[in-house]
């Protein structure tokens, strides 16, 4: 597992930011885990990035105000994060992943009415994080696989972003490539 100290810091900051309803900080923390998620693709970092981003959205949209048991949810969620930190300190990756997974499952504790909405926010968070990983240079297929989404969802989402306007992306002049296509069909 990569950069344990940094991950612990991110988790501690997440708990604080969640208590302070700080959506900007939460989003920033989610982005911090993306470098690790891209380079090492470990399940923990990817799960953490998606969970923190989902929380940032729920706080930003003030969804927590219409969630009756929000305080209980935060308490339970943070307790799993604390256990995840202890596992990290004990160098027990299996337990760490298990606690993150249990933290994710606390999103299922919302009322029946809200559950589909929360699941949709989680799904969109996965797509958002996938686009960030693709931006870091990981292929579309690989990114979709590690985030458990389809390339259909990812293509649609990345197309709306400016990822492909990076000048380094142009590996062969577009005119030359178009001529290759034209000559091929001649």
């Amino acid at each position: 597992m990569e950069e344990v100290g940094h991950i612990i810091e991110v988790i501690q900051e997440t708990k604080k930011s969640l208590a302070g309803y700080d959506s900007i900080k939460l989003r920033e923390l989610s982005n911090q885990t993306i470098h690790n998620a891209s380079a090492h693709q470990d399940v923990g970092c990817i799960t953490l990035a998606v969970l923190i981003y989902t929380l940032s959205k729920l706080v930003e949209r003030q969804d927590y105000k219409r969630i009756k048991n929000w305080d209980n949810f935060v308490k339970k969620f943070c307790s799993f994060l604390s256990l995840a930190v202890i596992s990290l300190k004990e160098d027990n990756e299996k337990k760490y992943i298990d606690y993150l997974e249990r933290a994710r499952k606390t999103f299922n504790s919302f009322s029946v009415n809200l559950k589909p909405y929360i699941q949709e926010v989680l799904r969109k968070s996965s797509i958002n994080k996938a686009s960030k990983i693709y931006e870091h240079g990981i292929s579309m297929g690989r990114t979709a696989k590690i985030l458990g989404i389809t390339q259909w969802e990812l293509s649609e989402y990345t197309g709306q972003r400016a990822i492909d306007d990076n000048p380094y992306n142009e590996t062969i002049d577009v005119v030359k490539r178009a001529q290759i296509a034209l000559e091929f069909f001649s």
């Binding site: 470098h35 891209s38 380079a39 090492h40 693709q41 693709y134 931006e135 870091h136 240079g137 990981i138 292929s139 579309m140 297929g141 690989r142 979709a144 696989k145 389809t150 390339q151 259909w152 990812l154 293509s155 649609e156 990345t158 197309g159 709306q160 990822i163 492909d164 306007d165 990076n166 000048p167 380094y168 992306n169 142009e170 590996t171 062969i172 002049d173 577009v174 005119v175 490539r177 178009a178 290759i180 296509a181 034209l182 091929f184 069909f185």
Partner: protein
């Protein structure tokens, strides 16, 4: 005989833009085979078939397979086992190509590498071929890995190293993207719309459905 090998992204792109008919038109007008591997079929047909939002797109691609517009390698007498073996070889090489702090980065997946494997097989049989791929990473590994290294180093804020000794096996592939496919179809009068704006509209549509092309490149294509 010539052949185009489709990666998932191009088929998804054309499907979402209602432009899959371009493949049928090109097939009708030119002596060219359009091939997909079973890994690409899984991404474009089998997996989305169970997802309401993408089911129609998947059915449209399945229809192209059923009508032999898109063909599987086995229909051309190509041994699937050989493709599988080479897919795993390319997958291993590509995923041992970039290193961050002494660890290899998994860059690509099987579907992308299966296109490489099929292209290699066709080339060995003397069949002129292109890989149609919209995503940038697999293309960059072959055409300009140094640029991929720059992107990754910049984004990860750390030095990324390339295993240059592996570059050779990736250097022989040729690529087009959905914008160039659309461009060729437009120039051959195969787009079912007429008017001054058709080319730019179609090119933008491919960009907004995931083709790795910049606005600057689209402007160049428009002025060709």
């Amino acid at each position: 005989m010539k052949a185009i090998i489709f990666d998932s992204g191009v088929l998804i792109n054309l499907s979402m833009n209602g432009l899959l008919y371009i493949i049928e038109e090109l097939k009708e007008h030119f002596d060219c085979k359009f091939l997909i591997t079973k890994e690409v079929k899984y991404e474009t047909v089998d997996r989305p078939m169970g997802i309401e939002r993408f089911e129609l797109g998947a059915l449209q691609i399945q229809n192209l397979i059923d009508s032999n517009v898109l063909e599987m390698p086995s229909s051309r007498g190509i041994d699937e086992e050989k493709i599988r073996k080479d897919t795993l070889l390319f997958l291993d090489k590509a995923n041992h190509f970039m290193q961050v702090r002494g660890k290899w980065v998994n860059l690509v997946e099987e579907a992308e590498m299966s296109c490489f494997a099929l292209s290699k097989e066709l080339t060995e049989r003397g069949i002129d071929n292109l890989i149609a791929i919209d995503e940038r990473t697999a293309r960059m590994i072959c055409e300009n890995p140094q640029n991929l290294e720059r992107i990754m180093s910049e984004k990860l804020h750390q030095k990324v190293n390339i295993a240059t000794e592996e570059s050779d096996i990736f250097s022989k592939f040729r690529f087009i993207r959905s914008p160039e496919l659309v461009y060729a179809a437009y120039k051959k009068n195969l787009i079912h719309l007429k008017g001054k704006k058709v080319l730019e509209a179609a090119l933008y549509a491919t960009k907004f459905k995931g083709a790795s092309i910049s606005f600057e490149e689209i402007n160049k294509l428009k002025s060709m």
